[in-house]
Symmetry: C2
Subunit: 250 residues, 2 copies
């Protein structure tokens, strides 16, 4: 028993530390598949509002890297962030995409367990762990919220396992599009139009596919008149019912 990169990483879980993963505190969590937890940034009852301070990151910038000492948690205020893990040889699995309200870096470990990078220009609130701890001590209700948000993330992660382990390429892509669409639900404008700020290879690494397969699958959906691909990373869902059928659950 020696060269256990595998086992070593696994053992992290046993570390009685703090700050383990990402989590979101509102309903719109989920796209992240075990990642983002929205805690309404501007909610009057937002207990995090006064903690830490916000900073703007430009697009394609690293916020923190897997293995870094985990001293803070972060909350996305606007923009989009991707979280991923990499295998030693460079294969990448994107754990999730975070949007406004989602949190990351939350965990009970000394190091961050994945890398966080911005997809678009993003405003991020950085909250020192100590401040978060203090808030949890002071407001038991907040601790409950964190727990609730974390279990929501876990549910999303489980759905993602079904997707990765048992869905076909077409089902994966259809599911992904519907999730994205659900995410930004209530908003303004055409509710059939969704934003795809991330590149094809990001989508591929999130769905366990290659960029080529993602592209081909989108092309097929376009030919079938289920979607329309617009310029500028936007896309119309022309037939949600058909997409939902294709997605096959979740």
């Amino acid at each position: 028993m020696s060269t256990h990169a595998a086992i070593a990483a696994h053992a992290n879980r046993a570390v009685p530390g703090y700050l383990v993963s990402a989590l979101a505190m509102t309903p719109n969590a989920g796209l992240g598949a075990g990642v983002g937890a929205a805690i309404q940034p501007r909610n009057p009852a937002d207990p995090l509002a006064s903690l830490g301070h916000a900073k703007v990151f430009e697009r394609e910038t690293t916020v923190f890297t897997e293995g870094d000492a985990a001293g803070s948690v972060f909350r996305v205020m606007s923009g989009m962030v991707r979280l991923y893990k990499m295998l030693p040889d460079g294969r990448r699995q994107i754990i999730g995409f975070l949007q406004a309200g989602d949190m990351m870096g939350l965990a009970f470990a000394a190091q961050y367990l994945y890398t966080a990078e911005t997809v678009t220009a993003t405003t991020i609130q950085r909250i020192p762990r100590l401040e978060l701890d203090a808030l949890m001590d002071a407001q038991p209700a907040f601790a409950r919220k964190l727990l609730s948000a974390t279990t929501s993330e876990l549910m999303a992660a489980q759905d993602q396992m079904v997707l990765l382990g048992r869905k076909t390429a077409a089902e994966k892509v259809a599911t992904f599009l519907l999730r994205l669409s659900d995410r930004k639900g209530g908003g303004k404008g055409d509710d059939r139009t969704i934003d795809l700020p991330m590149g094809r290879s990001d989508i591929a690494d999130h769905l366990g596919l290659t960029t080529e397969t993602v592209s081909r699958t989108l092309t097929k959906l376009k030919s079938s008149r289920l979607i329309r691909i617009l310029v500028g990373g936007k896309l119309d869902l022309l037939d949600r019912d058909a997409l939902a059928d294709l997605a096959g659950g979740f």
Copy 2:
């Protein structure tokens, strides 16, 4: 927007309820990939010890089904349980395998989000949600433990996403064997021998493979002298280092 089995299930996450998933409260959690949390059954400090009551389930028995009203949480005292989700057409994804100390059924939703079945004869403690709530209110430290356990599960779930999305069949099987081995770490006897009480199709549905591929892969590992397959669902790890290399991280 109508036939959204997908979207409906997804929406569950928004339900402000309780009791969402499974979680474990000790280091040996992890095999579950987003599932079991061990809370030392016989630990003197076990705050759950006096709650609910235990029951013995025989092998291959359903404990609860996805969609059932979620009135209780459960803790495995001995034996093994599998948790899974199914797609409408019957494809199955096993979320994780639970062992002694692992909890399940914990969630912030009104229904169970997956099905739990025993693999072997299993003793399970059933704890009404109300009792768990009361405990959380009475012991803030316990609530913290739950949060810690849940984030551990989330970490495990993220590792499982990497496995499902980016690993080859051989890497998946090697990773699985090492995880199983780590799980029951400290125990007695030959630490190279591990128990595989679940069938090949359970392993397959956990790793996103077919039974045939799992079988073939194990045969190859056997031919390469990395493992030895014993009767009675046992198996020897003959070369952990080689397996760890094969597993490629985590």
